[in-house]
Symmetry: C2
Subunit: 421 residues, 2 copies
């Protein structure tokens, strides 16, 4: 019997609180199938690691370290924002990948990323066929933006949503307790350049037991200042305060980012900051209310300390399933999370052809945004709640989460030519 | 035997993740001593509630609600930023308080706040003596700023410190995993206008198992741009990235807030935001490094989900002890947290005369800041670590923390005259 093929695994694009849980799923499942799958080589800093032939030998990592990836945020092997050009524009890149995979007896390509990476994954599989170097390419979904199509949700999103919902609820309690004499408006800026999934999580702040006034600014809804200010005033009149959750990608009716709306500092530099201070300032000018604003930035997507248990389970499962699919001979597919039609939330993994996924963005459906454009519907709430359900705390030592770091032993290079990206 | 005196309890100033735990300590301990202490009336929105005779009857709250205060952030009874003027300037305010207390048979005044409130507490006790309306005034320390003197630490601080340390560590993992091709500098703005205690918590990001590059900007250290940029460059050269934790109160050598350093937007408005975007922009201009920045704002002080267990225990204990001191006949004191001289961290509560506390701020000692001004010393780390130790998670329901809200039944007013503040 020939030596089993090795596998290549890479993390791509913005990292999340649970992408390493997918890595954990891949590596633990592969280790359990040593007769059929050889070593797992991880790209150092994502696909660039493959182009540079910088491969991390995960077999050198202890069982404990690999298990620890399940509760360690960010990308343990490094990630990158690097989209391969089209085959026409830079065929050399794809050929280089095939060369590296061939040199290291790699027969499986597991790519852990969003829409752009799905496209890369598809092209690898197409080219490998043509090159006579058979490589099974399986995409493992990951994105805090939750914008991949044909999967119920994307691992990484549930934990950001939980972080935003929890943080905004806590901050709302804070503002509520001081609004009579102090801050009346709290603005929280969240991620999501194109799709408002993360902003929608702000809608979970309020529920039956928590009558909290929240106004959401979605990227899908063109910003209308007058209506917005009216809504803010109405909430403050009714509750004494309001919490505003604003997506970084909110745009005006001319489709310009609000954060870029012509503001520069005294020296003419483009304005420094995000959209939160812009929105806060608009409110102040129109109402005089005292405000505070926060920007969740990287904290939101790395907050493993408050990760959603469901999200962690999803992330592990898609990694595990990717290996199982590979062992079943599947190719050119993305693993999906499929929601079952049960009264109580339940889910399973599934598959979809990569050709149907690549380069498509899933926006918030209209039915998820309330008629006035400033909130979420019950349908959206029913969709979101299971995704933030459950806690999955990391271990702590001396008061701090004890995240793991890999040794990162590199595989010896076999190709003589370097490759510039 | 005469009817036992009632007590007044109020929350003052900026709220914290654990101030309600102090309220819980006060109320539970008073309830256990019903023969000696009557009802606990809480000021609606702090001391203003007393001036307005808006008293919340905490006896109407269930045992379960009061127990729930232990894990509920912010000020359940409302707080305010309202410093009573001096006796000379506005004696009427103090007399009004005495009138309200007299009308409601209040013999105990528990004030839960920072330095300003300690001063108010002192004056109440002085005036009550002169007025022949005996009121025992006990101060319960609370401030995220950790700047009260003569107590080892202030309840509220440990939890903010834990939040900042955990969040900055997580964000550092994020940046580390993408720095080769993306963001190299992450700037996190934290609270602390005058004292750098919260910023110091950024120094806990790194430890033996986590060699993470952190640069801290303290309000105690005048900002020197050249040295700062050099340090940032050096860290990026060595590690590939750097995390900057900046106190909102950092000032330049002319003692101007960096956040106010002349920046206005294109319309001439004073610049909108905090110091994080200012620092990030300085770095970009000097180095060209790609950056991200976050502002922890209210999230940091309301983050009960990641509160320090030690801090929660401190907060409960100072509330409990305040009632015990009152029952022992003490007056004009603040409860303190005293660190014992043991190898393993241990503590007890103590007392200090209010006259020694009022209107004093405890800055970071020089021995806590590293020589270069950008980090913390081992002494500081040894001080901080016990304060963030332990986790004390709130209960969750449907993925969200289940914080309690009080019913807030108001006591019938007895005074005929209203009082304007």
């Amino acid at each position: 019997m020939s030596k089993p093929k090795n596998a290549f695994y890479a993390q791509s694009g913005g990292v999340t609180a649970v992408i390493n849980a997918s890595a954990c799923g891949v590596i633990e499942t592969a280790r359990a199938n040593k007769d059929k799958i050889g070593k797992i080589y991880a790209g150092r800093n994502g696909i660039i690691g493959a182009l540079h032939e910088e491969l991390i030998d995960t077999s050198k990592e202890s069982v404990k370290t690999i298990a620890g990836l399940r509760y360690t945020p960010a990308g343990a092997f490094g990630s990158c924002r690097y989209k391969l050009k089209s085959l026409k524009e830079n065929r050399a890149e794809y050929e280089r990948l095939i060369d590296v995979f061939k040199a290291h007896n790699i027969g499986y390509f597991f790519y852990n990323g969003g829409g752009d990476s799905a496209d890369t994954c598809l092209k690898i599989s197409q080219l490998s066929k043509k090159s006579g170097v058979p490589i099974q390419a399986i995409h493992i979904p990951k994105t805090v933006d939750n914008d991949l199509p044909l999967t119920d949700c994307c691992p990484g999103f549930g934990s950001v949503a939980k972080y935003i919902a929890v943080s905004a609820r806590e901050a709302s309690y804070d503002v509520a307790s001081m609004c009579e004499t102090s801050t009346k408006v709290f603005v929280l800026e969240v991620m999501g350049r194109h799709a408002g999934w993360i902003a929608a999580a702000g809608g979970l702040v309020a529920d039956g037991a928590n009558d909290i006034p929240v106004v959401i600014l979605f990227p899908e809804v063109p910003f209308k200042k007058k209506e917005f200010i009216a809504r803010v005033k109405q909430k403050v009149k009714q509750y004494g305060y309001v919490t505003i959750v604003v997506s970084e990608g909110v745009r005006d009716y001319r489709d310009r980012f609000l954060a870029d709306a012509g503001t520069t500092d005294a020296f003419g530099h483009a304005q420094l900051g995000g959209v939160a201070p812009v929105v806060a300032n608009l409110v102040r000018q129109a109402t005089g209310y005292k405000y505070h604003w926060g920007v969740a930035d990287y904290m939101q997507r790395s907050a493993r300390h408050i990760a959603s248990k469901t999200d962690v389970e999803h992330a592990y499962a898609v990694g595990k399933k990717a290996v199982e699919y590979a062992l079943q001979g599947k190719n050119s597919v993305m693993v999906t999370i499929d929601r079952k039609k049960t009264a109580k939330y339940s889910w399973t993994t599934g598959e979809v052809a990569l050709s149907k996924v690549a380069n498509k963005e899933k926006m918030m459906p209209k039915s998820f945004i309330s008629k006035d454009g400033f909130g979420i519907t019950k349908k959206c709430r029913d969709y979101l709640l299971p995704l933030i359900n459950g806690e999955d705390y990391p271990p702590y030592k001396n008061g701090m989460p004890e995240y793991v770091r890999i040794k990162g032993v590199m595989v010896s290079k076999k190709l003589t030519e370097p490759f510039d990206v």
